[in-house]
């Protein structure tokens, strides 16, 4: 009896009090530990991005393993990379409540389609398969509605150092829907070795929607491939519905070679070809390479960039260095897409990179996750003045997603 009394007494000590989740201006996916750990991501609500600390202590939805995140309609999705399952959450009374889940084989790119559906593209992993899986997912049902398998580009072939002809994969990096046309950017990649022997052309394939029939692939050899592994935003849409495509030309983004400088191409609204009159040679003009960015307004975008010099140094050590959130090699920059200028935001220190880099645009400001290698903060970037304000401290190592709730 004494023992039972002790046990019950001790178990009482182990229960903590629930922390109240009051404000809910934002939903954030907070990665509390290093991505290569047995990491835990938490979908939390945040009231204030600029002051105090943001932590998952006692609050938020625990996500198993490592996740990508997206918001479609008013549903917040978490795409488990380890578990291959996607859970949808809705905000009810300031709390995120699970609405259901579905299992998938792969989803590497997730982009909005319309009010009812989003697109999840599964990439061919590891060689042996060359088709992408274009999956149209119902936002309400949280289930795959229909899908189509397609190589998204006729086969690439190259001859490797062993004189063997090897087929390359087309790895999807971004997508958007322009009325009844679906645009998918990609880069050529050797499936098993992750080599990138083909880097002197930018490619975007065009499909019909909702049929998902392949129409054509548009190419441009003024710069290299659009985007890179990990789904960071590389397609920017302006007020007029024109789309800008970022070619990173960055070796530390997982490229075994780079043959063209980093630059930006454009496809005008309603058209299905690159605009021959627009090409912003970012690296040639500024000495920086653009990894990803988000459009704010008036031709201005906020981007994450790396200097040519740091790219050379970092890639010599690790060809995936820009995926490490604790390796501070990146700058924040403001890009004027019309004037073709790039301004480094000096208020933001050198910081590490992220998978599927999140940007939140609100009231003309952009909120980004900045990890200097030892600690992480929210930064509010003002593109108009190319200045930034250091915001709340993250009790964790990065935010992997940030959405406004209103």
């Amino acid at each position: 009896m004494l023992l039972l009394a002790i046990i019950s007494g001790l178990s009482a000590c182990t229960t903590d009090d629930e922390v109240d989740t009051a404000g809910a201006n934002y939903v954030m996916s907070l990665r509390t530990q290093n991505a290569n750990d047995e990491s835990a991501d938490y979908y939390i609500t945040v009231d204030d991005l600029l002051n105090g600390e943001i932590s998952a202590v006692g609050q938020g939805v625990e996500l198993i393993g490592w996740n990508y995140n997206a918001k479609f309609g008013d549903t917040y999705f978490a795409f488990g990379y380890d578990l291959n399952e996607c859970i949808g959450y809705k905000l009810q009374d300031g709390e995120l409540i699970s609405q259901g889940k579905f299992v998938f084989e792969r989803i590497d790119v997730m982009e909005p389609l319309d009010n009812d559906y989003f697109l999840g593209i599964g990439a061919p992993w590891g060689g042996g398969s060359y088709d992408c899986n274009l999956q149209v997912v119902s936002i309400d049902d949280i289930a795959i509605d229909h899908n189509a398998e397609h190589p998204i580009y006729e086969s690439f072939h190259y001859v490797d150092s062993l004189d063997q002809s090897v087929q390359l994969n087309a790895w999807p990096t971004g997508a958007y829907l322009d009325n009844d046309k679906l645009f998918v950017s990609f880069y050529p990649l050797h499936g098993t070795s992750w080599q990138t022997p083909n880097t002197d052309t930018a490619y975007v394939s065009v499909f019909s929607y909702p049929e998902l029939d392949y129409i054509k692939t548009i190419k441009d050899d003024r710069t290299g491939p659009i985007g890179y592994y990990g789904g960071s935003p590389v397609i920017l849409e302006n007020e007029g519905g024109d789309h800008f495509f970022v070619s990173t030309g960055c070796k530390a983004c997982g490229f075994t070679q780079v043959t063209k400088s980093s630059g930006i191409l454009k496809v005008n609204a309603g058209e299905t070809e690159f605009d021959p009159n627009y090409y912003f040679d970012v690296e040639g003009k500024t000495g920086y390479k653009v990894l990803s960015g988000t459009y704010v307004g008036n031709g201005l975008a906020v981007a994450r960039v790396i200097s040519t010099q740091l790219d050379d140094q970092a890639s010599a050590v690790n060809m995936w260095a820009t995926f490490s959130e604790v390796t501070p090699i990146l700058n924040a920059a403001v890009i004027d897409l019309n004037a073709e200028t790039l301004t480094i935001v000096e208020d933001v220190p050198l910081h590490g990179g992220q998978y599927k880099t999140p940007y939140l645009v609100e009231n003309g400001k952009v909120y980004i996750s900045v990890n200097t290698g030892t600690d992480a903060h929210v930064y509010e970037v003002d593109p108009a003045s190319a200045t930034a304000t250091k915001g709340a401290k993250l009790i964790g190592n990065q935010f992997q997603a940030l959405f406004a709730t209103k």
């Binding site: 835990a40 579905f102 084989e105």
Partner: protein, 790 residues
């Protein structure tokens, strides 16, 4: 020539035998059933022993002539027997009468072997397996009832399990069979393969591990002693249970009068493990998930082992000298990844091993009190892992061909038919010397060598993930551990102390691949280290039946084969792993009181540990690897109560509370602030306990038939999979509170010659988990039949 030769031979054997005659025998109750734990003492001397489980004893170092034996034990009347000793011999069974008068508290209480072990200056739990033997239990199930011990099983028979002892887990806790380290026996020979019939004792050392178990245990050790005293026996048992589970064992020994001994054992285990679980079934078209009850469909297990040992016993040059061979194989299907969302329908592993064994023991070698024990074995093993399916399965067993990852297996990122070829050798030598009644010294050396190469017919071009490339050249691991200890008894044996030092040497050669695709090369990583540990322990008998214990040690644990080289599928190699080390403090009080037929044992302990550089398994997706990461602090409290009435009713309860917190101030990767400083380590049970009650329903002294009933309850408080501080409580992944009950009924006839037991585990069909989402079997029945002939 000839007479001279005979004379010399006679002289030698005469000399050796002189002064160390032995006398054996058996102590039984009136019905002829052997009684364990009876003290047999030569009157007027300190020479005495306790009877083993069958009631057998053997007194050594006796002189020729008349002597008087005194038999004492709880619940029995003291008896004396006069013997005239001419030669080493065996006396007729001694029948003791059950005591009808109350024993006074000051009367000398017979100490069983387990009681003697408890009196050592270590923090130790000795499990008397006699009452458990007839109950059809696994070693794991027996160990699971010890305070501080948690065994986390992934599923049914043959499933992998993780053993935790006071916050240490896996290989931080070392296992021994008769003092021989189990590390290298491989997966064909695990704890669950050892039939409980064969076991005479299990010692659980918490913290300080005695030097005679010469190993680099960090958190403790378990030593399983098998019965060496019986000269001839045959034990055949067969059990059948739920989920098409069959287990059979034949264990036999034959010893001739001249001392020639043959041990022959065979074990067979089989199970489909097709128990029902609640699982999320995914629609193969839409991916939509629905929860329903399903039957596991790819979790079969089969293992078989044959062991033969030949040698001699009780010879002038050896108490025991045995050489043997063990052949074993095992086949195991894999049903899921590290949790239930990944369903596996085709992958499996297969092991084969052949071992040569050598055992030698000699007491009073050259000098009285000098004992040499040498154990060694060499092993050739092969481990095959096959993961080549191009399909994805759901829990209904429905499959669809993979669209994207067509080069992936079900668990491995690339399809694999990985084959390891292992060679392992271990030699353990122990030399102990009893200086006098109060002092002894011991030196132990354990040397082990492990060699592994591997190949994968499918994996020659794999650039990432689990590639066979690092194993195209040999990976080796060499360890040499030496320990020296000194034991002392003072104050008329009221104070017992032990001090020891250990030296650990490690040398490993591992290979790591570098580069991608056709530019791959192999890097060789060599690691060599020499480290030292030390410790002291003491126990003091405040008064009869009450003792206090305290110990301290600074110990190292060297990385092992699995941690360095992986297992070819779920566990990836890590060539850079370092040793872990810890400071361990233990304090305990132990009391044993007898009032007439009532006996109560109480044991309370406190422990404090500071493990550094802890080797921890980090799961990422469906694979994991071992990393040196966390520094922690363990504060543990244990309480253990055991009551016995007249050997008819017994009951015990124990509880353990052991929070383990992270004591790493800076983040191990970035060097920044570790926000989890002083947080409870996730995925570790904090509060758990067991209760057990046994009752002898029938004890017919005429026919020697007995009927026992036993009840056990196991409790584990819920704990979180991830860091407890983070996330809202309702959403957190946890391993829920577990409360399960098991019952068994066993009937033994003709003094244990025929045994039958029926058991029901998890009688209320509770949904149980040891690991996140890996549901364990529900209610299960099993019937065990056992025939024992000696």
């Amino acid at each position: 020539m000839r007479p001279a030769f005979l004379f010399i031979l006679f002289f030698i054997s005469g000399t050796v035998v002189w002064g160390q005659m032995t006398l054996g025998g058996q102590v039984t109750d009136q019905s002829g059933v052997g009684i364990p734990g009876i003290t047999v003492q030569v009157k007027g001397t300190s020479n005495g022993v306790s009877t083993d489980i069958e009631g057998n004893f053997r007194l050594k170092n006796l002189s020729k002539g008349p002597l008087t034996l005194v038999f004492t034990g709880i619940g029995f009347q003291q008896q004396e027997l006069a013997v005239l000793l001419e030669n080493s011999s065996r006396i007729d069974p001694v029948k003791l009468k059950e005591s009808t008068t109350e024993l006074s508290a000051v009367q000398v209480v017979g100490k069983s072997e387990t009681a003697e072990i408890r009196e050592m200056p270590y923090s130790i739990t000795a499990i008397d397996v006699a009452p458990l033997k007839t109950q059809n239990l696994d070693v794991n199930q027996i160990l699971g009832t010890v305070s501080g011990v948690r065994i986390r099983e992934e599923g049914g028979l043959g499933s992998s399990f993780n053993f935790t002892l006071n916050g240490f887990s896996g290989n931080q806790v070392r296992f021994f069979i008769d003092g021989i380290p189990m590390d290298y026996f491989g997966s064909s020979l695990t704890l669950n393969n050892i039939p409980s019939n064969l076991i005479s004792n299990i010692e659980v050392y918490k913290g300080v591990v005695p030097v005679h178990l010469g190993s680099d245990a960090l958190g403790g050790a378990i030593n399983i002693t098998t019965n060496q005293n019986i000269r001839r026996f045959l034990d055949i048992s067969y059990s059948i249970g739920s989920f098409n589970t069959h287990r059979a064992s034949v264990v036999s020994r034959y010893t001739t009068n001249s001392g020639l001994r043959v041990n022959a054992n065979a074990f067979f285990n089989y199970s489909d493990n097709n128990y029902d679980i609640m699982a999320e079934v995914a629609n193969t078209e839409t991916g939509k998930v629905t929860e329903q009850e399903v039957e596991r469909f790819h979790d079969g297990y089969q293992s078989q082992t044959v062991q033969v040992e030949i040698g001699v016993t009780n010879k002038p040059y050896a108490d025991q000298l045995l050489v043997g061979v063990i052949g074993s194989s095992n086949y195991k299907e894999i049903q899921s990844g590290y949790n239930l969302t990944k369903v596996v329908g085709e992958a499996y592993t297969e092991d084969k091993a052949i071992l040569g064994t050598f055992k030698y023991k000699k007491s009073d070698l050259f000098l009285d009190g000098l004992t040499l024990t040498v154990n060694g074995f060499t092993k050739f093993g092969r481990i095959l892992t096959v993961d080549t399916s191009s399909y994805e399965y759901n829990w209904l067993g429905e499959r669809s061909r993979k669209k994207l990852g067509t080069t992936s297996g079900e668990i491995a990122w690339y399809k694999t038919q990985f084959r390891f070829d292992d060679k392992a050798s271990t030699a353990t030598s122990l030399l102990s010397y009893k200086i006098n009644e109060n002092q002894s010294v011991a030196i132990n050396n354990t040397f082990s060598y492990f060699y592994r190469i591997g190949s994968d017919p499918l994996g020659q071009s794999d650039p990432v993930g689990l590639s066979s490339v690092p194993f195209t050249e040999p990976n080796t691991l060499r360890k040499n551990i030496t320990g020296l200890s000194y034991s002392l008894k003072l104050l008329e044996d009221k104070l017992r102390m032990v001090g020891f030092g250990k030296m650990y040497y490690l040398h490993s050669v591992s290979r790591e691949e570098d580069g991608f695709g056709d530019q791959q090369e192999i890097n060789t990583i060599r690691k060599e280290s020499l480290t030292y540990g030390y410790g002291v322990g003491a126990t003091y008998f405040l008064f009869e039946g009450f003792q206090i214990k305290a110990s301290y040690e600074y110990a190292y644990r060297l990385p092992d084969v699995l941690e360095l080289f992986g297992n070819g599928l779920q566990v990836e190699p890590n060539a850079h792993l370092d040793s872990e080390h810890s400071q361990n403090y233990n304090f305990g009080v132990l009391s044993q009181q007898t009032w007439g037929k009532h006996q109560l044992m109480t044991e309370a302990s406190f422990l404090y540990r500071l493990p550094k550089n802890m080797i921890r398994n980090y799961a990422v997706g469906n694979t994991s690897n071992y990393l040196n990461l966390v520094d922690t602090k363990v504060t543990g409290y244990e309480l253990n109560l055991r009551y016995d009435y007249n050997r008819k009713i017994n009951a015990s309860i124990n509880g353990t509370y052991q929070p383990i917190v992270n004591t790493q101030k800076t983040d191990p990767v970035s060097g920044g602030t570790n926000y989890l400083y002083l947080s409870q380590i996730p995925n570790e049970p904090i509060l758990f306990g067991n209760a057990q009650a046994g009752y002898t329903i029938l004890n017919n002294t005429q026919t020697s038939n007995k009927l026992f009933a036993n009840w056990t309850t196991s409790f584990v408080e819920a704990f979180y999979l991830k860091w407890p501080a983070y996330g809202g409580k309702s959403s957190k992944a946890d391993i829920p509170r577990q409360l399960s009950h098991s019952i068994s009924l066993s009937y033994s006839m003709k003094g244990g010659k025929y045994n039958a037991s029926l058991s029901c585990t998890n009688i209320f069909d509770a949904v149980l988990f040891d690991n996140f989402m890996l549901q364990k079997p529900g209610r299960a029945f099993s019937l065990k039949l056992n025939y024992f002939l000696d």
